[in-house]
């Protein structure tokens, strides 16, 4: 019933031949029929439809409707952000598409066309090899969700947010929307109105999940918006590594991805959240991510942004408890026609809290990388530390990079350090590598991999290999 379409053929424009070249792996789609479709455009009925399909409790339905009002009332943040946001046509987007609300527990039960998609992306294979659990979201809902028995026996809850709301409302409601309130920004409000899918994780006190849990977000439909909502709670002294990957086929029209991710690390807990995003060059990726770190806990975001048309994402940590630690490691690669507007927010709200931000960006061709950082340390605290380092690499003479650090430190009992550098791959360097037999593309790729090498080494092996592969593909296509 389904035909495979190589979506390249849909794109007639050749004005930007290199952007999106990295989608070699993700650039395919199978034609689908959806049993549930909220239609095109956004109004109260869209929200009613989503809520009804999910058979939600009245409080969450009301939460959504209020969020919709907030969304409509908030202006786009174009006074500081890219005007490209104005090109998002909210009336042309489809807000909910699914084949059902209950994910399958085995790959055999997953509908053939969806299963084929995830097999082609290598998800079932990764699951067998090194993961403690996988959730695979296809457009609006998870098609597959499974956690290894050994992990669930420890009391770890891992499911999609639709199920989480239904099965664990007592935990869900307590933390949901508390780290990132609806009105945080226009897109967190949008997500709060129409969210669907995303992960819900609870790790009980003292449980250290030995292998990563992974979610994979796949956009398949054209003119579609994906609005997953992830909520992770690590109870006292527990530890978790969560990884997410994402792809979409390349369409000639814009696609919107606008997620909200909230993390809560209770006393002494450790959360490591790794993203390797590989969106196609038509995707607006506008994501709000924030963690709340209680006493002596640690939240670490590792955020790799490759692809997309415009990414705006500033993972943050609110350091609420004494001696809490926050870290953001951000890698962004902006190819021709792409704008990676990324960074970090570190809000110190307790004594002796520590935060670290390391950002490396690469701009290729007319690609633009922007770093925005907020570090906030108020006067009444003591012994807070922040270290920020942002390095930019420019590949071409017309590449662009900007850095906007906003550091507010009051009082004299803190230590803050900010370092920034901009470097360029020189023609001599490329000649040197070419003289050793590497093509120009391979030479660029090696320079870029060298530039981020010290960060990539901190990733789990499988992800650093994947990141290197994506950079190779991206750089191969950027020359010639």
């Amino acid at each position: 019933m389904s035909n495979i379409t190589e979506t390249d053929s849909l794109v007639t424009s050749t004005e930007n031949p290199v952007s999106g070249i990295d989608q070699a792996a993700g650039n395919f789609k199978y034609d689908m029929t959806y049993d549930f479709d909220a239609g095109t455009g956004l109004n109260e009925r869209t929200v009613d439809y989503i809520s009804a399909v999910k058979k939600e409790a009245p409080w969450i339905h009301e939460f959504r409707q209020n969020a919709l009002k907030t969304f409509f009332s908030k202006p786009l943040p174009t006074h500081w952000a890219s005007k490209d946001l104005e090109n998002i046509n909210f009336d042309k987007i489809r807000y909910y598409l699914s084949q059902g609300q209950k994910p399958k527990r085995t790959w055999d039960e997953v509908p053939a066309d969806i299963k084929r998609t995830f097999e082609r992306l290598g998800i079932p294979e990764q699951e067998r090899k090194f993961l403690a659990g996988v959730e695979a979201q296809f457009d609006s809902e998870a098609a597959y969700s499974n956690i290894k028995e050994a992990v669930s026996k420890q009391g770890v809850i891992f499911m999609n947010s639709t199920e989480g709301l239904r099965e664990h409302p007592e935990i869900f409601r307590k933390f949901f929307g508390k780290v990132i309130p609806t009105g945080d920004n226009k897109f967190s409000a949008l997500n709060s109105a129409v969210f669907s899918g995303g992960s819900f994780i609870y790790v009980p006190p003292g449980v250290k999940v030995s292998h990563p849990l992974q979610a994979y977000f796949r956009i398949n439909a054209e003119n579609f918006g994906q609005f997953e909502r992830t909520l992770i709670i690590c109870d006292e002294g527990s530890e978790l590594t969560y990884m997410e990957g994402c792809t979409a086929p390349k369409f000639s029209t814009a696609t919107l991805h606008s997620a909200v991710v909230e993390l809560v690390a209770l006393r002494g807990a450790k959360i490591q959240y790794i993203t390797v995003q590989n969106w196609s060059s038509n995707v607006f990726n506008l994501v709000t991510k924030r963690g709340l770190a209680h006493e002596e806990s640690e939240i670490k975001w590792i955020d790799c942004n490759i692809g997309s048309r415009l990414t705006m994402k500033y993972p943050g940590v609110v350091l609420k408890g004494r001696k809490a630690r926050g870290e953001v490691i951000s890698i962004a690669l902006a190819n021709d026609g792409q704008h990676q507007d990324t960074g970090a927010k570190m809000i110190h709200a307790a004594d002796e809290t520590t935060s670290t931000v390391v950002s490396k960006s690469i701009s290729v061709g007319q690609g633009r990388a922007t770093y925005r950082g907020v570090v906030h340390i108020p006067r009444h605290l003591k012994g807070c530390k922040n270290n920020t380092e942002c390095d930019a690499l420019l590949i071409s003479t017309n590449s662009r990079t900007d850095t906007y650090p906003a550091i507010t430190v009051r009082g004299d009992r803190h230590a803050v350090q900010h370092e920034a550098s901009v470097s360029k791959v020189s023609a001599e360097q490329i000649f040197y590598m070419q003289q050793r037999g590497l093509t120009e593309g391979q030479a660029m790729s090696l320079s870029v991999n060298g530039f981020i090498n010290d960060l990539a080494r901190q990733f789990p092996m499988e992800y650093s290999v994947e990141l290197k592969r994506l950079i190779d593909l991206e750089m191969e296509g950027s020359v010639g």
Binding site: Q434, Q435, T439, L446, G450, F451
Partner: protein, 251 residues
Amino acid sequence: MSSLEIRNLHVSTGDKEIVKGVNLSINTGEIHAVMGPNGTGKSTLAKAIAGHPDYVITEGDVLIDGKSILEMETDERSRLGIFLAFQYPSEIPGVSIANFLRAAIQARMAEGEEVDASGFYKRLYQKMDLLKIDRKFTSRSVNEGFSGGEKKRSEILQMAMLEPRFALMDETDSGLDIDALKIVADGVNQLRGPNLGILLITHYQRLLGYIIPDFVHVMIDGRIVKSGDKSLALELESRGYDWVKKEFAHA
């Protein structure tokens, strides 16, 4: 046996002609030293053969085994067997020597083939032992923070691993103290053999005390004005370049 033939080569950079008609033929197994004062076009000759984009060949040809290489990209020329040992090698931050060499060897393999990691390291360590290079060296980023001697040793190691047919060694002796010079010369002597032709560009005779060339050429003002055997180098050492210049002016 392979041959590298340089025919009436003219090279310009910007509007300025630097190399003004060089003829030179090198066979594998031979070492040719090109000597001459600063600014006579020796380095330009080497870079132009390697395909540096800043150097434009306005006339003449460069052939390997009778086939012109001038239409080839720098990397194609490299894979064909031309190696340039740089006078000032570039730094590649974050890329270890081992990974750099691995990428260079990978680039020489057919599509779908992968470098065998254990075989690669075995060969790498063999070459390093041969060149008396410490094993820790390979995990350092290429040329980053290297001393002058380390940079040159890294060039020789790369040459050993890539096994070119023709090595163009551009002022390999510059900036080296006598101990470093000996180590580098030892390395070159280890690698010399019937399958390698070397074009040794040097300003000073002292390197030729350690690497004995088969032929010596004197380059002045973009041309090779005198050729001979190793005794020519000794003559230059004792008499300087002025007499050759005079001879050349008269000719």
